[in-house]
Amino acid sequence: MSDNTKNIEEKKDKFLAEENKKRIVTGPDGVQFEVDPLQDYFCDKRPVAKDPKNKVIENFLNWARAESLWVLGFGTGCGNIEIPPLLTPRFDAFRYGIQMRPTPRQSSVLIISGYLAVKTLKRAIRSYEQMQNPKYVLALGSCTINGGMYYDSYNTINRLDYYLPVDVYVAGCMPRPEALLSGFNKLKERIKAGRAEGANDYANKFDWYKANQKKIIKDWNMPDYNW
């Protein structure tokens, strides 16, 4: 083990909760064995890219996916204040097959609504990785594009596409609900054209994304890929 990796290991251990640390456990029959909760309790298998096979079938499925966008109800920033109007009489996004789901397992769209603090980025990554394969990221606001007015803040990221594969950016601070709806339309076009393969990109460029994420999340105390 080189010094560098050892340092990283030690640093990682510092932030781990007591029950997640590696330890030697004695079984009831007296046999001693090592327990590594990060390996044993969580599945840290790398994600696998699952490329579409049959083009005709995939086109049909993509159409169904595009018309049934289940959005994770995770308001990561101030753009989230325009999500409730989207679901109410004036804008009524339900008409376009957009529905909110409370758990990441069942959702297919992650909306990063505005600036992303480092603490939230960690949760957003976890939520994203728990979503199932055709999954899309919609980023709202200038702050996710280039930092916006928080370009000099020590706690908000500058560009989201270094950490998560973004499908559509909606500019503005904050984007109006109309802009958000048109962002959803763009996303639908992308999905129907078969270009929204963010999940596969994430799996293919996994190491690059992880390196970027670990650069700013200094207390990385979870498995590399947590689903």
């Binding site: 325009e82 409730p84 949760r123 939520s127 803040s153």
Partner: protein, 396 residues
């Protein structure tokens, strides 16, 4: 602990056990307790914050609030911005009611710089602040029922809120962030026909209030779920720094608009509604009466606001505007309670320190952690919404 007279609600006075300081003894390895995280990605918390709950059965025995998911470091960022540049930054501190942010910063700068704002600007500021209160109350009053899965009122309310946001667009050009109040005055006068359109909306809102009275406040199940839940002892009000509607529901007649009249509030005729039972139902009643009162206040303001006149006091060139050395604290009454800004100037072009005092700072951390103890897991969301917590003003 008082004895239960209902046999199906077991006597919990002995379990969990308490140590000598009155804290429950929680041993997670005993498998008697469950640790449950509410949030940040959970529909049952307000905004982006999280609650770490330790449950014993259905009952919460320990709650911890975790914030910081929305931290942008505003107070640091404003130290490297000119006073005029602080405005676009400042209004994003608390999103749902952005105009309070504008007002407190403008008032602080005027106080330190010794600027008097013109009559018309003062009226327009009052109008904008009340409209902001109206739009947030249209969301939160029926929102209390939405926490108990009665979402109809919230849907209607959000539509009316959109109408008020339309009026905001007409007046200021912005939907959520207006930047209408600037140091020395406001940016514009009322557009033609504004009063008439506003009046139409107000009539619609009054009909809506009648509707939610029937739908929500006389609903037996709503009463059953809210009366007696989330009780704030009136003696906690000073101990925990409770302000605004939450303090008024506990019987304290505290309203910054009355106690420290700013702008034109001493020329308006209103009396804050004071509840006495201090539970979730009373707090929602207080907010409903505040909604009725706000509609009335906007009518009063519209009757008196000048159609034309000077709206901007003379200020120095904003690029070289140096405030004299000093410090001040300016407060306003937001829909959540006392909302203030503490500004320290060191005589340069940049503020030395800006600190926001948001009501949620105490409501969502110290008070919520206390209130959730012994609450049912089903009531966590409704207690939280009844305090009207807003995470961005905790961490800024």
């Amino acid at each position: 602990m008082k004895k239960n007279n209902k046999i199906w609600q077991g006597d919990r006075s002995k379990y969990p056990a308490f140590d000598e300081y009155g804290n429950p003894i929680i041993d997670l390895k005993s498998h008697k307790f469950t640790k449950l995280w509410h949030g940040p990605n959970h529909p049952g918390v307000t905004g982006n914050m999280s609650l770490e709950l330790t449950l014993s059965g259905d009952e919460v025995v320990e709650a911890k609030t975790h914030v910081g998911y929305l931290h942008r470091g505003f107070e640091k960022l404003m130290e490297r911005r000119l006073y005029i540049q602080c405005f676009p930054t400042c209004i994003r501190m608390c999103v749902p009611e952005a105009d309070s942010n504008e007002y407190v910063l403008a008032a602080s700068i005027e106080e330190l710089g010794g600027i008097e704002i013109p009559e018309a600007a003062s009226w327009l500021r009052t109008l904008v602040l009340e409209m902001a209160r109206l739009q947030i109350l249209l969301r939160t009053v029926p929102g209390q029922a939405a926490t108990l899965s009665l979402g109809m009122g919230a849907q209607w309310g959000m539509y009316l809120r959109d109408l008020i946001l339309d009026r905001f667009e007409e007046l200021t050009g912005g939907r959520i962030y207006h930047m209408f109040i600037i140091p020395g005055g406001v940016r514009g006068l009322l557009p033609a026909g504004f009063k008439k359109r506003m009046e139409e909306n107000l009539v619609e809102i009054e009909e809506f209030i009648d509707k939610i009275e029937d739908l929500i406040f006389t609903n037996a199940i709503f009463k059953k779920r809210t009366i007696g839940i989330g009780y704030i002892d009136p003696s906690w009000v000073d101990k925990y720094g409770i302000v605004g509607p939450n303090a008024r529901a506990a019987g304290y007649n505290r309203d910054v608009r009355k106690d420290y009249p700013y702008l034109k509030y001493n020329e308006l005729d209103f009396e804050p509604y004071v509840g006495k039972d201090s539970d979730v139902f009373t707090r929602s009643q207080v907010r409903k009466h505040e909604l009725i009162q706000t509609v009335d206040l906007i009518r009063q303001i519209l009757a008196q606001v000048p159609e034309k006149g000077d709206i901007r006091a003379k200020t120095p060139n904003v690029l070289h505007w140096e405030l004299p050395k000093g410090e001040t604290y300016q407060r306003s009454e937001s829909s959540r309670g006392e909302y203030g800004l503490y500004v320290v100037s060191d005589g340069s072009k940049y503020p030395r320190r800006v600190n926001l005092r948001g009501p949620s700072y105490t409501h969502a951390v110290a008070l919520l952690e206390k209130l959730l103890i012994n609450a049912n897991i089903a009531d966590v969301h409704s207690i939280m919404v009844s305090l009207q917590t807003c995470p961005p003003e905790i961490e800024r």
